[in-house]
Subunit: 206 residues, 2 copies
């Protein structure tokens, strides 16, 4: 059965990005600490066209996420922040659906990544991603708005948090919506790895 | 070496209590879900003068916290909420130091619990608790204000979070202070138990 999953690095105080995030500072002050655990991994480096890197439990997880995703949904701010650094051959290598208010022609990149801009909302973007993913799963890349909308609508099957033991003191919170009240999850898997704890939650009935 | 530790039940979205908390509703709306895992445990029941209850990894942890604490520090709102329900024989059975702006005579209860009201701030309350605890450790019972002040001051050695897989959508956050920015911790122990994941973090140099 096709699953909709998200995997996000979060500080212990609940932030996806630090204070002062915006164009030119997409991770906010201190936010790069949330990704220290991932950028040295062999699987992450391979996805970005680099060789070498560390192996271990986090590397196994990243490889698993890459392998299972047949399409990705993301918000417009994430796309805007990534467009330049991802360059001509972005690491997705599958169809990506960007939730936005601004219509734009699809963008085909090398290596199998296509960006389709969806102006009919997050649920429509998910529908398109489900169809595009075929028998693989759908990854939700973020940001917080997209994840929270899907979670509140009961459309997110798995929420995997990479909990990083640092406090950012402010920024963009992953979970801060009143409409999330009453969402119940169940811990499905906990993996302790260097510099990060991976906690996978699955959806339960309210 | 004497350690200062805190153990708090927190929702996955980071709340110690749900929305609408206040006198008469100390846990806020839905906040009782954060404590479902604890109130059935044998060790918790024994501390409250009841027999029976569940055993297992959470029960072992609660027994450990009770055994190691020689004194407790808590905020005034927690005391106010607890004073009536704790009754004539509160579960602490050791000296408790309440951080408050209102001077009040000490209160001695049955079973070894004494409440001392400290108007000189949280660091003074901790100093008194350290002396009172002797060769045992000091527990910080909460609330969020007290924990965050000690964490920011580098005076909390261990932060143990009982992460409950429910979203409250609002309420009192455990960690929401700008002055916490840059605090780095390290995961010391992760224990997955029914309905809760226990994550113990220890302080690292900034």
């Amino acid at each position: 059965v096709q699953r909709v999953f998200t995997q996000l690095s979060v500080s212990l105080d609940g932030y996806l990005a630090g204070p002062g995030d915006g164009p030119g500072n997409p991770l906010g002050d201190g936010g790069e600490q949330l990704h220290e655990w991932v950028v040295e991994l062999a699987s992450w480096r391979a996805g970005h066209g680099m060789s070498g890197g560390r192996t271990g439990p986090s590397d196994d997880l990243v490889a698993e996420w890459i392998a299972r995703a047949g399409a990705t949904v993301m918000g417009r701010r994430m796309f805007d922040a990534g467009e330049a650094p991802w360059g001509e051959e972005p690491p997705f290598r599958h169809p990506v659906f960007v939730v936005t208010h601004r219509a734009r022609d699809p963008l085909a990149r090398r290596g199998g990544t296509t960006f389709t801009f969806v102006t009919e909302g997050v649920e429509r973007a998910l529908e398109l991603a489900r169809a595009a993913a075929g028998d693989r799963d759908v990854a939700v890349a973020g940001g917080a708005d997209v994840v929270q909308q899907l979670l509140a609508a009961g459309l997110l099957d798995e929420l995997e948090i990479a909990l990083v033991p640092v406090l950012l003191g402010g920024g963009v919170r992953l979970l801060d919506r009143p409409e999330l009240s009453g969402v119940r999850l169940a811990l499905d898997r906990a993996i302790d790895a260097p510099g990060v704890t991976h906690l996978r939650y699955v959806r339960r009935a309210r």
